[in-house]
Each structure stands twice: as structure tokens, then as C-alpha cells.
């Protein structure tokens, strides 16, 4: 990353470019934050601390849905409807790798064709990392950088796999679940935990012969949502239908999100939710830093290796061996 901060007062210059909305600078800043190198990390921290006063002013929207629900097509249409209102929109993605193969299990996805050509839109492919936690940190930082660059709506999309939805829910203001009509009881069962997290649910592909089924599903899901406890925000989740193909129902979704925004601003839960999220970020960061520092220092790694040998030969319980490491660390 040697070309970053090359000016005389390099950080100040870089920050002022970022604040002016320069997308090349924004892309570089995100890449800097994604770097695993220690020197880059130091620069990234300085940069982030510098832009902190210029962050927090966007509306952060999480979007999830199973493969096949039409997520990319939806975000393409939804994003375009926002830019047509003159809003600057950025799209970030979290796509957890398969636990086993370490590669994407979904393969290449159709990108957002229209939105990617729009000068008011900034689309950033998935951050990479060794763990979902690592990816989450990078995405949180990317949100702040986009905000500093003047983006008013940040969309964080994720596929409905593993913990990623909980992770995204923890970094956005409004969480939107996309759902197909007529996917049956099984899908409802699986998605129940996710449905509890949603502030809004949209039945996609409500066009042609599918429209009637979509309306039915809308009624059913609205009933189902009533079974859950009211959210901490005091907001009752709504169910809408839309067709990205026929461009129907897209504006209504933005109206719903605006209603949510003014409702939660009025009852102060918007601010409280952001606070809670920042504190979770803090605690999650402590966890991941601890892990990194312990397993990388030679002092601990020697002790850990010897414990691993004892475990493999059945001489000590793994949890007791962990106790020994802790005693060494916190003495």
C-alpha cells in the first residue's frame, strides 16, 4: 500500500479527498482497512479515527434472503429507485465461505447491472477474511468510510447461511428479509429465527401468475410476525410484496423504511440501537484481538503446543488444558 498517504501531510490530504467523495480514494481506503499487514493496520486506525466525526449520518439497511429469492435483482431495482431520488447509495456484501471448503458455496452471482453504472452508487464486492468476525469488522469499517464519503444509504447484503444474518443485523438500522411465496412450511421453520430479526419482509417475484400467491404469503407472514415479541425498537415489522421485473412495489419499500426511520428517531430507539451495536463491536474486537495476540506470541505458543501434545495422548482434558493457559496469561 505504498501509494497511500504519499503527500506532504499525507493523512490530511487523503482524508480531505475521502470527505469530498472521491470514489478512487474510498476504494483505496477500504482496501487499506482490509489489509492484514501490521503497518497498514496502523495507518487504517489513524484514518478511521480521523474520519470518525464524519460518520454515522447514513441509513444502514441490511438485506438478506435465500439463494434464488432474487436478491441482486432486487437490490439493483431498489438502489436505482433511491439514486433516482438523488440519494448516494453504497452496496457492501457479506458472503460467509463454506466452513469446510473455505470457498463460496454459491459461485458467481449476477451483479447489479444498472446500479453499477450509476454515478450515485458505489458497489464493493465482499470483504475477505479468515473468519466471519474478521469479515464483519472490515464491513463495519467500510460502512464508516462510505459515510465519510457522503453516502446516505448503505446497503449491506448477505446470503442466508450460518451466522451471517445475525452479524449483519448487528451493524444495520433496518433489516429486510426477502422471501419467496409458496416455499412451504419447511422454509418457514428454518427462517423463523431470521424472521424475528427482520424489521420488514418483502415477498419477491410478485408478478404474473405468482402475484396471487405472493398476496397470500403476505397475509400469512404478517400473521406469523404477530406471534413474535415486539422488538426492542417498539416497531411492528411489515410485510410487502414487490416485483423487481415489473418495477412494482419498490417505492413502497423505501416509504416503509422512511416510516421506520422517523418512528425510531421519535422514540429514540434508533440512537439506542446504534449505541448497542457499537458496544458489541467493541466486545467482539476484544475477543478477536485476544485470539490473535495469544496464538501469535511465542511465549504462549510454546505452552500451547505442549498442552496440545498432552491432549492428543489423552493425558489432560482439553478444557483443563485451557485453564492452565489462562492461569499463565492472567497471573
Amino acid at each position: 500500500m505504498k501509494h497511500v498517504f504519499k503527500q506532504k501531510s499525507p493523512l490530511k490530504q487523503f482524508v480531505s479527498e475521502l470527505l469530498s467523495g472521491n470514489t478512487v480514494t474510498l476504494a483505496r481506503a477500504i482496501t487499506l482497512c482490509e489489509s492484514q499487514k501490521t503497518a497498514d493496520r496502523k495507518k487504517a486506525n489513524d484514518l478511521l479515527q480521523e474520519i470518525l466525526p464524519h460518520t454515522g449520518r447514513s441509513l444502514r439497511i441490511g438485506i438478506t434472503g435465500s439463494p434464488g429469492v432474487g436478491k441482486s435483482t432486487f437490490i439493483d431495482a431498489f438502489g436505482k429507485s433511491l439514486t433516482s431520488l438523488g440519494k448516494k447509495v453504497s452496496v457492501l456484501a457479506i458472503d460467509p465461505s463454506s466452513a469446510k471448503t473455505k470457498g463460496s458455496i454459491l459461485g458467481d452471482r449476477t451483479r447489479m447491472e444498472e446500479l453499477s453504472k450509476d454515478p450515485l452508487a458505489f458497489i464493493r464486492p465482499t470483504a475477505t477474511g479468515n473468519s466471519l468476525g474478521g469479515v464483519a469488522d472490515k464491513t463495519r469499517e467500510a460502512i464508516l468510510l462510505c459515510e465519510a464519503a457522503g453516502y446516505e444509504i448503505i446497503i449491506v447484503e448477505t446470503v442466508g447461511v450460518g451466522q451471517s444474518e445475525t452479524t449483519v443485523r448487528g451493524m444495520v438500522d433496518f433489516f429486510l428479509l426477502l422471501q419467496l411465496a409458496g416455499a412451504g412450511d419447511e422454509l418457514q421453520g428454518i427462517k423463523k429465527g431470521i424472521m424475528e430479526m427482520a424489521d420488514g419482509l418483502v415477498i419477491t417475484k410478485a408478478d404474473g401468475e405468482n402475484e396471487k400467491r405472493a398476496r397470500q404469503a403476505q397475509t400469512e407472514f404478517q400473521h406469523a410476525l404477530h406471534l413474535f415479541q415486539p422488538s426492542e425498537l417498539g416497531w411492528t415489522p411489515k410485510v410487502l410484496t414487490c416485483s423487481a421485473l415489473e418495477k412494482k412495489g419498490i417505492d413502497e419499500i423505501w416509504k416503509l423504511i422512511e416510516a421506520f426511520h422517523s418512528f425510531t428517531t421519535k422514540n429514540k430507539s434508533f440512537r439506542k440501537n446504534r449505541d448497542r451495536q457499537n458496544l458489541s463491536w467493541f466486545h467482539e474486537s476484544i475477543d478477536s484481538l485476544l485470539k490473535r495476540d495469544i496464538f501469535q506470541s511465542s511465549k504462549y505458543s510454546t505452552k500451547i503446543k505442549s498442552m496440545e501434545k498432552k491432549i492428543s495422548s489423552g493425558k489432560i482434558m482439553p478444557s483443563l488444558a485451557a485453564d492452565e493457559i489462562l492461569k499463565m496469561l492472567l497471573k
Copy 2:
């Protein structure tokens, strides 16, 4: 837990009762390990270290499947078929609470009616804990205690929610996925990450009109499984069908698991997999102990509180605040 270890040489007496297969002692031992009290934890560690040489001799089977797949009914029938062979079977469960409500999202489930009356079976309800990690530790300890008490087959069941399947996969030898026929493309998409972890897949409710669809699904899933990389064990996962209602196909599942056992014993991957799992347990325990010790000591909690204030007032980035805590800890 004052009635535990009450004899003259209380630990030795307790251990000998446990090793003789006394189920009251086994239940007490599991409860002791689940206790959050420091004094109980010390006793639990002594007990576990004492029984360690008597553990590891069971076959550990993980079973997962979405709500509605007929998991309890299947385990009831499968367990009975094992006890009818004279085998001692124990059933443990991991049921992660909903991230939001902290309560079960599935409500009361039909228990295993037949198996629960069988003297060769030991069924233990879900362990409780503050986190999935905590629950996982308790379940691992419960597995060891059941093994010490002479149980030859340990079944660990879980619902298909969040990370719980990865957690269970990490503590069993054979991982069985139950699946319904004709649940469509959506479900396949969602379950792909889980399918990759499975050593066997069983299409349930293959009876009456459903039987033909089940056979079709069997062929489709067998094809789908071929798309994945071969597992580290060298084993190719198999797909079977069964009807717990008509007691069909149950014996074949046990034969499959026996074939898996002899295959992985021969190529030594059985032992290697157990080793890997013990090492993961060790590392996960370090993580959770660190978390506990840091957040509970007053030295760190004061510093953490002051950082939290700075974060809430927007004066410091959460990740930088975490850095400060780490510097204090590892100086």
C-alpha cells in the same frame, strides 16, 4: 450440589458408581458439570480428569434436520433398534436459543416415547448456557460422562438453526442429516453448507404416497453430494430413505454407520478426527475462559466501562478501544 461427593473418599466412590453405570449418578454428574458455581466447577474438573481414561470408547453420532422432518420420531425408532441389539444408547440435545428472545423458538417437542422407557437408554434434555459455546462445552463433558458410564452409542441431536450444526459436527464421529423429500430448490440452497458436513443423509417419512418422491429425492441428493469435495475422512456420504412410522429402512442406517466406522478405523481417519476435535475444544475453551476472566475482573471491567463511555459519545472507534484493552492485558 452438597450431596455430591459425600462419602469418606467421596470422589473415588462417586467415580466408581458412575463407572458401574448408575444412571442417578450419571445424571448428577452432568448437572454438576452444568453448574455455573466456581466450587462446583472445581469438583467437575476433578471428576472429569478422573474419568478421562474411561472415555472415548463410544460411537458419537450427530443428528440434525429442520423442524418438521420428524427428528424425535426418527431418534425414537433408531434408538430402539440399537437397544434391541443390546447396545446402551444415550441421547443428548443441543437446541440453541433464539438470539433475540433467549428462549427456545421451537417450543415443546414431542419426546422419544418408546426410547425414554428403555432401560438401555439414557435421555438428557438440552443443556443450558449463556452462549452456544457454553452449551457445547457442557455437551462435550456430558458425552465423556456417558462414555464413562458405559454408553456405547451417543446421539447428539440439534435443530437446524444458526451455528449449532457446525458445533455438533465438531464433537461427533458421524454426522447424519435428515431431510424431507420434495422440499424444493430453496431448501437445497439453504442446506448446502450443512450437506457438506454430512456423512450420511436420510430422507424421512418415506411411506405411503411419499415413498416414490423419497426415492427420487434419494437419487437427486446422491448426485448433489458428488458435487462436493471428498471429505477429509476419505468417506463418500450415502443417501438412504426411511419410515419411522412403518419401521422401514432403520436397520440400513445402522449398517451404514457401522460401515463408516470400520472404513474410518481402517484408514485411521477416525482417530485423527477425534484428535482434531479435542484440539478445537482446547482452543475454544481458551476463548471462552478469556472472555469470562476479563469481563469479570474489576481491574479490567473499570477500564472497559470507561472505554464504553468514550465509544457512546463518539470519541473513539470501538476497534481502537479494544486495542487499548489488549495493551493493558498483555503488557
